[in-house]
């Protein structure tokens, strides 16, 4: 957006208001890097911890896929496999996905995009981060007690057999829930109260809208999860009868309480990715996002509707038949705002000048894989069809397409995009591009055949599938096919980790704005100083006004043309197909 240099506009309010006050620099290693109050450092901490746990949970996934290369189970017994899928799911949902997209990217980018110095409650932000490794330790320690076995959903009564491990699982989820709730409150307050002067709601970047919608869900839904798992913990430890039917409890009660959170949770995963894609497409198509107001409005509509559809996870499970109807209708309804976004993103590409950088390829890959995942979701929304597909590999395929092909693709897009801002260096572009193709191909190869397997009759959470393989001779081939492609994804992540570390020392120096983008984070140095903006900017335009020229201040307070536009860092426009 067009920002006035503060030498020509002097606003007392802007410079003396609390959030504009520059506090003294933190001193000492502990204050700077361990118990930092700086949202950027906290973002790094979430990133590092989340990636570490992702490697562990991903390794479990590779072990699971290896197990399924043989219908009798290739490498482990049933108990161990059950533990693997439980830990994989639990860790990926709560200790990888949410911390990475909300804690890491949200924390780092959102305050910069609204022209703030930090979030509303930096101390709470720090506490919210430190709760995260504690929760991780609690979760993984459950494996020392035999581990939880009943899947990331840990339904009672079967999960009550998990004993100490089950209680630890509950404690870990409860703990991480506190972090989510506090972060949600923090982000909501920041966005409501701390935007730079002139940044009205309709001048906010779409990633900020996405963060707001996500924070709303984080804040209000997570408490319900804390209650569901807290009650389960009480049942494990103190034998309080909430869910055990032999003592008056109800297993279906757990399902209601669990899914009341866990459905908004999946929107908590995806909406930040929607925001990331909304940021990246305009920059590399060199034109404004199409349908800004509708995309912003639909994010809010999704975040509210998200609270009304939870029982579609329970269609065969003990829901009264008359209740199935409204949930089916609302689940269809929530497809409409999502569709609007998809069409708006595609229209953003129309009439553009598309540069095939790695963030752009990830963002466009997202359009395809997330669409497919959304469509299989429509299948599952229909009660009669869901009565065939529930609990099968079709569901596994569906949610991996939307989480891995949606959220994770968005996350992978955001890394080469914002890494230059965070570190001052570019990621190696060729490695990023190779990583994209490995991931895209691996994802489709691993999860596409799952839909067929599920429809044909292979249930999920099966450590071995001898009966199904006897009926369907192709089952073994497709399971092995999926396992092979899973290794492509593993290779992509390995490349990414290497790239992240290597580029810290050897990446090309990034300027202030290597991509020629128009949002506020690209007007300050890379990496930004701890106080972000020397003077809080005053905003007078929208975040995607590519048709206006790009004045910005370099560190000497001079306004100059974007000097490196079109040269090495903003890659020379190339013809399609030459792979950049």
């Amino acid at each position: 957006m067009h920002t006035e240099p503060s030498s020509t506009t002097h606003d007392t309010h802007a410079t003396e208001a609390t959030h504009a006050h520059i506090h003294p620099a933190p001193e000492g290693f502990v204050r700077k890097y361990v118990f930092s109050l700086d949202h950027k450092v906290i973002g790094f901490q979430y990133f590092f911890t989340g990636m570490l746990i992702m490697l562990i949970a991903g390794a479990f996934a590779i072990l699971m896929r290896t197990q399924l290369t043989s219908p009798t189970g290739a490498i482990m017994d049933h108990n161990t496999y059950n533990e693997m899928f439980t830990m994989h799911g639990t860790a990926m949902v709560w200790l990888v996905t949410i911390p990475l997209v909300t804690g890491a990217i949200g924390n780092f980018v959102m305050p910069l995009q609204i022209g703030a110095r930090d979030v509303a409650f930096p101390w709470l932000n720090m506490i919210s981060f430190w709760i995260f490794p504690v929760a991780a330790v609690i979760l993984f320690s459950s494996m020392l007690f035999g581990g939880p076995h009943a899947g990331w959903t840990e339904y009672p009564p079967i999960s009550l057999a998990d004993g100490t491990a089950g209680a630890l699982w509950c404690a870990a989820i409860f703990t991480i829930g506190i972090s989510s709730t506090l972060t949600g409150m923090n982000f909501m307050t920041t966005i409501i109260k701390m935007r730079a002067p002139g940044m009205t709601w309709t001048r906010m970047p779409l990633f900020v809208w996405a963060t707001f919608a996500t924070a709303l869900m984080n804040m209000f839904a997570t408490v319900a999860l804390s209650v569901a798992t807290g009650a389960l913990f009480l049942e494990h430890v103190f034998k309080i009868p909430w869910y055990d039917p032999s003592r008056g409890g109800s297993p279906v009660l757990f399902e209601h309480m669990f899914w009341f959170y866990s459905h908004p949770a999946v929107y908590i995963f995806i909406i930040p990715a929607f925001g990331i894609v909304s940021e990246i497409l305009p920059v590399f198509a060199r034109k404004p996002i199409f349908g800004y107001k509708m995309i912003a409005f639909s994010s809010m509509a999704i975040s509210l509707l998200a609270f009304t559809v939870w029982a579609h996870h329970m269609f065969p499970s003990g829901l009264a038949p008359w209740l199935q109807l409204p949930f089916m209708i609302l689940t269809y309804a929530i497809g409409i705002p999502t569709g609007i976004k998809m069409f708006s993103w595609i229209a953003t590409l129309w009439g553009g000048r598309i540069h095939f950088t790695s963030p752009m390829l990830y963002a466009m890959g997202f359009l395809i894989t997330f669409s497919f995942g959304g469509i299989t979701g429509i299948f599952l929304a229909s009660v009669p069809v869901d009565l065939h597909l529930h609990g099968t590999y079709f569901v596994v395929g569906h949610f991996h397409y939307v989480v891995a092909g949606g959220t994770f693709m968005g996350f992978l897009a955001s890394i080469p995009f914002w890494y230059p801002k965070a570190t001052g260096r570019m990621l190696d572009e060729r490695l990023s591009l190779l990583g994209f193709w490995l991931f895209f191909i691996g994802l489709n190869g691993t999860f596409f055949p799952m839909h067929w397997l599920g429809i044909e009759g292979m249930p999920r959470r099966y450590a071995s599938y001898t009966a199904f393989a006897a009926q369907n001779p192709d089952a073994v081939f497709w399971n092995r096919f999926e396992t092979a492609f899973a290794f492509f994804m593993a290779a992509s992540i390995a490349l990414l980790v290497f790239n992240l570390i290597w580029s810290l020392k050897h990446g090309k120096i990034a300027g202030i704005n290597p991509w020629g983008a128009r949002t506020l984070e690209w007007t300050i140095s890379s990496p930004p100083p701890y106080y972000n903006f020397k003077e809080i900017p005053i905003v007078s335009g929208g975040p995607y006004d590519f048709e206006k020229p790009l004045p910005y201040k370099n560190t000497d307070n001079e306004i100059e043309e974007f000097p490196e536009y079109g040269k090495v860092l903003m890659p020379t426009p190339v013809l399609a197909g030459s792979g950049a």
């Binding site: 107001k293 089916m328 069409f343 395809i368 099966y462 071995s464 001079e558």
Partner: protein, 367 residues
């Protein structure tokens, strides 16, 4: 301080809707038509088992919905993927562009947005209506069932009860052409009874009875597989479902009733003799179980019975019940069919009531 303001960037001009837009759109439309025709008229048995020759009345309706969604889902995927690829080609940045080239700065197009909101909404409304129709048939279609069967889920087998049958069976038989109501519950944890070819699935929830209604159409043998995680042997929890003509079904049911009547003779466990039990074990049971008895995992045909009452790895019997003398006697009397195999019942083994008492005494004396 120097203040140089940059000149306005070079905005591209687009002819019409883009180079090759209409040929590309035509191609995509043709692909959509091909996709629709395939799903509507093609044979999709490779995907939906026995779709073209349904075994139950639900298959036609559920598969019809599925095909409808596949038509539109496939068409949407073709359009999304097609336009993304086309736009990448038509609107790619060219090497000859001046460095500050930007795309057409349109922010919105209300008419277009209106249509792409309204049309999918109409589509979803149609889909909702179709789904409600099928939902209603499935939930409320069978008003007066000809047969009511009860299913009880256990770890790790399903148990079936029929009207007039005193005992239970572990194999489900159903008659062709008779509307069936299935009442499902569980004795322990949540299970899910799923017969893929019949498109039948319902959860077995402890403390709740749910129902499932359908009419079998053709004869066949099917596998029912548990599709809700229920414990360590969840993946091995399968059973048999047989659909057969009414006459054959009645014959089978009568045979079950006779067997049940014969199986339930009173047994006095207090009079059991350990030595006699050991002799009977050697005579009959050693055909399938190791003699002298071995730990569980040293199987012959059936598991080793040395630690039948005190094995920490297997704290329950194969029936899922605690290893009390009564429960051991039950297995000897009724036999057992489950994932671990089949054990013949009392008559098949040629055991008398006293034999059972002796065997129980012997087995419980093992340590």
């Amino acid at each position: 301080m120097a203040q140089r303001i940059a000149r306005a960037p070079n905005i591209v001009r687009v002819q019409g809707l883009g180079p090759g837009f209409w040929p590309a759109t035509t191609l995509l439309l043709l692909l959509c038509i091909a996709n629709s025709l395939y799903w509507l008229f093609g044979n999709i048995d490779w995907l939906l088992p026995s779709s073209s020759q349904p075994f139950s009345d639900r298959v036609y309706d559920i598969d019809g919905l599925f095909k409808f969604m596949a038509v539109f889902g496939g068409d949407i995927m073709i359009i999304v993927t097609g336009y993304v690829i086309y736009f990448c080609i038509a609107f790619r940045a060219r090497a000859s562009d001046p460095p500050d080239t930007v795309g057409v700065p349109i922010h919105d197009q209300p008419k277009l947005e209106f249509w792409w909101t309204v049309l999918p909404t109409i589509l979803l409304v149609i889909l909702t209506a179709l789904s409600i129709n099928v939902w209603h048939k499935i939930q409320f279609g069978v008003t007066s069932p000809g047969l009511t069967m009860e299913v009880v889920g256990h770890q790790f087998y399903f148990e079936y009860r029929y009207p007039g049958l005193k005992g239970t069976t572990t194999e489900a038989h159903l008659p062709i052409g008779v509307p069936v109501r299935i009442l499902i519950t569980s004795a322990d944890v949540i299970h899910q009874w799923w017969v893929p070819e019949l498109r039948l699935k319902m959860a077995a929830v402890p403390g709740l009875v749910q129902n499932l209604n359908f009419t079998p159409l053709r004869a066949g043998n099917f596998i029912v597989t548990c599709s809700e995680f229920c414990g360590v042997n969840h993946s091995q929890m399968q059973g048999k479902v047989v659909i057969e003509p009414v006459a054959a079904f009645n014959t089978w049911l009568d045979a079950q009733k006779t067997a049940a009547a014969a199986a339930s003779i009173p047994i006095k466990l207090s009079g059991g003799n350990v030595a006699a039990g050991q002799a009977k074990f050697h005579q009959i049971c050693s055909a399938c179980h190791h003699d002298p008895p071995t730990p569980f995992d040293q199987k012959l045909v059936g598991p080793g019975l040395l630690h039948i009452t005190d094995d920490p790895q297997h704290p329950t019997l194969v029936t899922g019940k605690p290893p009390t003398p009564q429960n051991i006697a039950w297995i000897l009397q009724n036999g057992f069919t489950g994932s671990i195999g089949t054990m013949p019942n009392r008559q098949a083994n040629g055991l008398s009531a006293q034999d059972i008492a002796n065997l129980v005494a012997y087995l419980t004396s093992l340590k």
